[in-house]
Amino acid sequence: MSEQTTELGHSIKALADTLIPYILAVVAAFAAVGIFFAAVGFDVLQAYSTILFTSFRTPNGFVQTLLKYVPLLLQALAFTVPLTAGKFNIGGEGQLIVGAIGAAAVGIMFSGLPMLLLLPMVILAGIVFGGFWAAIPAWLLYRFGINEILTTVMMNFISFSLIDYVATEIWRDPTAGHPTTVPIGAGGEFPLLVAKPPLNSGIVLALAAAVIVYVYVNRTPGGYDLVATGANARASRVFGINVRVMFLLSLIVGGALAGLSGAIEVAGVHHRLIEGLQSNFLLLGIIIGLMARGNLLAVPFVAFFIAVLEVGASAMQRTMMIPVEFVFIVEALILLFVLLSDVVRRR
């Protein structure tokens, strides 16, 4: 009995230990930027209330937030899963783009198929293409030990040319002013979860992916292998874990998650391939993964918080003419303070 209470006490203390630095970091970041706002002459309170509450004031704001949340969550997972094994996937946007290309290609080529067939094919194409795009650097790492940071970044650049080719040469939509493909078949579109304002059901897939990843990593021997590899690859190898396979698989799974988000952008949001659909999701995804310190339970919550800030930032720019970049500074400062709190704690 007393053992259980101490275990419980331990858990509560551990939770408090994790949360307090976050709260302090958020407060400190807002305070720092607030001082700057005040100095420049912006209305600090109004700016902050726009940033923090736009998402919750109107149904439209909330739906906008959820739409932003899906790619951010998946990008953060695409970064965090390999990070669990100690590998850095900086190729999330390339994997998203190639996943989107795969989804769009299937959606256009088989546009006549009914939804029951086409939608799963589109989603699967996104996952497979994204996984494939990550498999190239993963294999180079596995086979030749080539640093995955460099190769995943380089794969991003290749994907930019690839999407440009697909959207301007192969399936170009001549009526659009921007490089865009023709729409995918209606059977490939995600059904709406809420009609007005329109919210597609991609969020269900994203949340399911987050749950599966969490359960796999924390509850299965394979997940244990992944965590152990990230904690000390040499010791894991000595005790029978094939760490090179772990590196390989974690990167491919990361790519598949990013590819899924590409498919959701195509099939859920745009219904076609648009150049630039990757937005700045990669960078935000990395920030989310680092803020969560690689904790897969924390990632969905941090991602939501960042989605709220992002939507708030656009609103602030529209209504108050304050550039969105300020919110990016807030986000960067939060990350900085969270990381600093680690250093402080180690003292």
Binding site: T6, E7, P221, V227, A231, G240, I241, N242
Partner: protein, 516 residues
Amino acid sequence: MKNSTMLEMKGVRKSFGTVVALDDVNLQLKSSEIHGLLGGNGAGKTTLMNVLYGLYKPDRGEIYLREKKVEIQSPKDAISCGIGMVHQHFLQIDSYTVTENIVLGTRLKNRPTLDLDQEEQRIQDLSERFGLEVSPSSLVEELPMGIRQRVEILKAVYRGVDVLILDEPTTNLTPQEVESLFQSLRVMVEEGMSVVFITHKLREVLSVSDRISVLRDGRNVITLPRDEASEEVLVRAMVGEGLDVGKSLVFSDTGLDQEALQVGQEPVLRVEGLQVVNEEGNPLVKDCSFQIREKEIFGVAGVAGNGQQELAESLMGIRPIAGGQASIDDTSIVGLETRELLEMGVTYIPEDRLQDGFLPTANVAQNLILGYQRQEPYHNRGFLDWNAIFRAARELITEYNIMTPSAKEPAANLSGGNIQRVMLARAFSHPAKLLVAHNPTRGLDIGSMEFVYSKLLERKEQGMATLLLSEDLDELMLLCDRIATIYRGQFAGVLERGEFDKYQIGRMMSGVETHE
């Protein structure tokens, strides 16, 4: 001059964060004496001498040299005061000659030409004078550990020090090299130098010191002249009241009791002509053949780096076996993966516990199941059973006396001795036929060493076969039923209990003798 005070440290205190490594320590060194500084691992010996050598700034305390107070802020100050130190893990430039290594950092007369003939001659003279035999023109990388250490001592003598500090100098030496080192130290003190000789080995300190100081948990315990010191007094001082010396294995004179000496008949591990090669194909282990029976502890003695690690790793499936046969209970293990070996009941305590056995960012429970995550009871229908894992972890924490607030604690917070207890608890958490243990007590305090010994013997009595690779000859001679000596990847000989002879093993360790 004899028996005047050469150096005195008074009231030294040094803490690292919350750890108080030294608390109000005094040390008095007379001229022309070998002063033994004795204490278990973690007692603070190295820290005390690092303070004297100017590497650590003490929180408090004073140093007097020939009764005059001195401030030593850096090793440079220490050397100009005539204090030299040979570290336990010293650094040398491998591609330089002995002479170049020794003169490095001193003021050379022929700086522009870098003509070292004079220096070489001086080093030759010093080496002959003190019996520190070494050829000044050989490259350091080609020298064995024992000679490299002589180079390090010559470095200090070359700089004309009056006080020489040696931190655990005997760790990597054969018994013969230890003898020869002691003789050199004698010559030095006869010429008026003073030597501080650090060790955790009782017999060494008794055989060479003029006076002995004992440190325990960062405090002075006693200082005694050699002729007033007995093993009993020193043991008591080293371990304090916490340990029952009568039952101690580490300090046992009589050896093991009858039960622990029993050896079974059935061979568990059979190795025939084992070969292990490095990436270039050069042999690291050559033609090793031996068997280990049930209830047998088979020791491997040798100077570090003679193939011990490679032998252990090849048997654990971490390195490939390049040639020969190895089997456990008549099943060949050549080509098996570590995971399969663990499932067969082979278990491993790696030498470098931090690098090879430890997950710092994972919690204690996760560390305790490493390698067993797919075995009962931790694994259940594709999922990890965390309830079972934590239950097992709590039991192991109690049984192995691992000091941690909870099984959920990050393992990085454990101390060295407790990390080794985790290694041990893990190795013994499943029934095992064969244990491969490499230096399982290195760096442990006496209580933890005692614990490791008793667990090894407990498992032995239950039938387990053990391959114990160790650099500590006393440990091997206490625990093993047979001892093989490895030299350059080859067994130079195998001795049975009863014919163990420290000096013979020492000769085999340095390659001058083989034994059939």
